[in-house]
Symmetry: C2
Subunit: 288 residues, 2 copies
Amino acid sequence: MRIAFQGTSGAYSEGAAQRAWPGIETVACEQFEHVFASVAEGRTSHGLLPIENSIGGSIHRNYDLLLEHDLPIVAETELQVVHHLVALPGTEISQIRRVCSHPQALAQCESFLRSLSNVEIVATYDTAGSARLIQEQNLTDTAAVASARAAEIFGLSVLKAAIQDYRDNITRFLLIARDPQPLGQPDKTSLVFALPNSAGALFKALSVFALRDIDLTKLESRPMRGRPWEYLFYVDLAAGRADVRCGRAIVHLAESARWVKTLGSYARWSEAAMRPFGAEASMDVSTV
Amino acid sequence: MRIAFQGTSGAYSEGAAQRAWPGIETVACEQFEHVFASVAEGRTSHGLLPIENSIGGSIHRNYDLLLEHDLPIVAETELQVVHHLVALPGTEISQIRRVCSHPQALAQCESFLRSLSNVEIVATYDTAGSARLIQEQNLTDTAAVASARAAEIFGLSVLKAAIQDYRDNITRFLLIARDPQPLGQPDKTSLVFALPNSAGALFKALSVFALRDIDLTKLESRPMRGRPWEYLFYVDLAAGRADVRCGRAIVHLAESARWVKTLGSYARWSEAAMRPFGAEASMDVSTV
């Protein structure tokens, strides 16, 4: 089993994959598009994508890419994000003139970063990549905001630990594959649909779930390209695709929606349900 | 009338302000927070904030800040975004080794940027600020993705015009003020509300608008800080606050929502309705 992720070794996505499915092999990709390509072309069996963060919100690029590709979601996982200020060993905080990281990570550590004086904040494409840059270029005046794992991998020290503004900083990830074979028993389904531009259209769409007592765990709107101020809606339902209510709701939705696409049906993630990868892969696929 | 905006002179926000309300004075602010502070502290009468883009989606930071501050929305406006590749006069495209701009602008020009070879793409905090940097540091190997106005202001040439991937690239802006005195006749209202974490809660909330034939022009969910996987909902209603249906719907919503906050009631923007600032400010405030 090989899981593609976006970023450099030491990225949060890689950490999430290794924690949820211990022993799997991970493959670093430069961009989210490459994660999709890697799975589509069979170079990896799976790809792991961050989809939302409890502070920053959705990673919209991945919602867009899920729609563009036909790679079903087969599992989800979550990771507690703990950002550290990391630098070359022996560096003092007073020597730091530049802090670099991904804009999301920088935003999540805003209070701490504002407390530093005479420091330039630099947005990069990558948390772990910023740590690597410091090692590769031997930057003694630069720190990165990155994970403890990234610091370890690139031989950096933690100057200041747990610098994020909020403790409850959790990222949710989706696992995609070529085959819609879920790991575990699906009790959650992700859909995307487009609605006619008429009054009450969204209300009618949501009625197909409410009338069947299906809970929505997430609703996200995204602009439709080429149609300013029209939206696509991404929803997560607390019901597996094999649940008869779910199937009926989707058929009902299709009556009024312009179109509906199922992005996948998968098991809701829980710490308790964590199992070795192989064990999960062989479970309960008959129900899907 | 003084309007604060985020960015450097030549920013799209400044262009939108000057186009919608000709003759007003604009004040550059480094961050969105500073725009809010400028209005709250009376240094400017208004602030203009980008809130969504027809390609990239919502600017979530501003949704969060609207909630944190008590500065009502008094108007909206839209601007067609046209990105150019700009550089020092005399620079050839083949000399360019680095392209810098705001990540949103870079993302909106992805196809074009991928067509360049041996070029590093650098994320910055600002489109116009990237243009200024090229001028200030006389960077002959660097180009920026910025507006024609930014190129003009910083003495740069357009190397390649209209490089954005999609033609229908429009940004919507909200004008905030200390006093809830709208410019023009309000026919649109923005709300934010939190719901109990129960099945069908969002459906019930939307029913208060659907049952009164009030159209939603936008629905956006944002994570609640400190409550992972619970959300706030931001909605735009196609009805002014003085519309009796709107008032009743908000009272009805308050029955089931944990809380509701009105962010402002204002006139839906249209090209046709563009008037000098002073003229709009004196119109129809009696109806609000």
